[in-house]
């Protein structure tokens, strides 16, 4: 929670600008998808840079920029325990259930 997060939040003059993660929604009805990242001094410029960088060829109709420092990610080291509950609950999946032959639209 980390040095880097603090560094990114407060750039000194001329120091590295903070990093922003960019999400693009290709068109109405679809979800925003992570497209990449940009450096910018503030949200407004991050948005403009992201527009130029990720939507030059009509890729999107909506953009979100989020300070990278605001993103919390799951840890690969804890991947197994963290995501385990799904593996031992096969009854959560429709394929778990047997359906009598000939029954349709189920």
């Amino acid at each position: 929670m980390s040095r880097a997060a603090e560094d990114e939040a407060e750039p000194g003059p001329g120091a590295g600008w903070p990093l922003w993660e960019v999400f693009v929604r290709p068109r109405r009805g679809l979800a925003h998808t992570h497209a990449g990242s940009v450096h910018a001094p503030d949200a407004e410029l991050a948005l403009r840079n992201a527009r130029d960088l990720f939507t030059r060829r009509g890729e999107g109709v909506s953009l979100w920029v989020v300070p990278a420092a605001a993103v919390t990610a799951s840890s690969p080291d804890e991947r197994d325990p963290f995501f385990r509950p799904t593996a031992d609950k096969p009854y959560r999946h429709p394929t778990f259930y047997e359906v009598p032959e000939g029954v349709r639209h189920l």
Partner: protein, 365 residues
């Protein structure tokens, strides 16, 4: 926790251990993580920023991705030299779009490098200090308008041949950047080819100009694939880590095989008297590359090395006050403040899982 902050070295303890415990457990952790890394590579899956990786893998990737990024940035110069002199408005607009793309490619690649725990500033400093290289090709001058076409066809063509396999590189962020870049490079290559085709079918002066450009750019393009396999010390390890998927010589051969028929279709010749079809190999044989020239260019003795890097340094130094102004402005206007020209939007209460800032912006735009 910031995802990127975590990329540095996963080996450092994340929990409290007694001193005795730490060493033993760290060793076990490292062994386990190394095994997981090898399994991921063997399964041809991607390594992601927060995964454990050998220090040498990280260092190799930082070097390769950074120098790739630098090449995009320096590569804007030889072409940009012709923007003001482009012979038609159509060609000029195309060239501007292309140079803009190159800037974008640099940004994607610096972004990918940063996921490895470095920063763009640090990498640019290394470029400016001459401690990082960029592609040898951009140390050649663009002497005529036809050079813009030769760069598109041959230089971007070589880049595509090099980069398409990188779309399956074992490091996820690099592979994803390459997918995007390759799509855009094919626009670059086609515009160059079309440009040369037009010249080759124009007046005899235009045709001669096109041939001259191809003559000058052909060998430097073959050098873009790097030294021959028996003089490429990093190839073996990079192949084992699946950073590289083919050797330099394999890719160079592939490129020659692609270009020969394309040159024929242009009605231009490639400047190699030893170029001939080898029925037995099923490939085109070609003459020896001048590796002494390649080494000299990489060592800074090419025709434009000094000009390219000093222009980059100057842009960076003379732009310092603008970067400082932007940072100072940002500090005065905390995030969420609308820019002056935007009417203050009412602060819409955001749904719990929707970031507030994008909503405000969307309303304002």
């Amino acid at each position: 926790m910031n995802a990127r902050a975590e990329t540095e070295h996963a080996g450092n303890g994340t929990r409290d251990h007694t001193a005795n415990d730490t060493a033993g457990r760290a060793a076990n952790d490292t062994a386990g993580r190394a095994a997981a890394f090898e399994r991921t590579i063997a399964a041809d899956e991607r390594i992601e920023p927060r995964d454990w990786m050998p220090d040498a893998y990280r260092a190799t990737l930082v070097r390769q991705i950074a120098q790739h990024a630098h090449s995009e940035i320096i590569g804007m110069q030889p072409e940009a030299d012709w923007i003001t002199r482009a012979p038609s408005l159509r060609r000029k607009a195309i060239l501007i779009a292309k140079v803009q793309d190159e800037a974008g490619h640099g940004l994607y690649l610096y972004g990918a490098a940063e996921t490895l725990g470095t920063s763009r500033e640090e990498l640019l400093d290394k470029l400016h200090a001459g401690r990082h290289k960029y592609s040898s090709i951009f140390n050649y001058p663009t002497l005529t308008w036809a050079d813009v076409g030769a760069i598109g066809w041959l230089v971007d063509g070589a880049a595509i041949t090099n980069q398409v396999p990188l779309c399956r590189c074992s490091y996820g962020p690099y592979a994803r950047a390459m997918v995007r870049i390759c799509k855009e490079e094919s626009f670059h290559q086609r515009q160059g080819y079309e440009l040369l085709h037009t010249l080759a079918h124009g007046t005899s002066a235009q045709r001669a100009m096109a041939q001259d450009a191809v003559d000058r750019w052909w060998w430097p393009s073959l050098m873009m694939f790097g030294p021959p396999d028996d003089a490429s010390p990093r190839t073996e390890q990079s192949m084992a880590w699946r950073i590289k998927r083919h050797t330099n010589d394999e890719l160079r051969q592939r490129f020659v095989d692609i270009c020969v028929p394309q040159a024929e279709a242009l009605g231009l010749t490639l400047p190699d008297p030893e170029l001939r079809w080898n029925e037995e190999r099923g490939h085109w044989d070609f003459g020896p590359v001048d590796w002494a020239e390649f080494r000299a260019v990489l060592a800074g003795e090419g025709p434009c090395n000094e000009e390219r890097i000093s222009r980059r340094r100057r842009a960076h130094a003379e732009g310092a006050w603008v970067r400082e102004a932007a940072s100072a402005y940002a500090a005065k206007h905390p995030r969420g403040d609308a820019a002056p020209h935007v009417p203050a939007a009412p602060n819409v209460p955001a749904a719990p899982n929707v970031p507030a800032a994008p909503n405000v912006r969307a309303g304002a735009s």
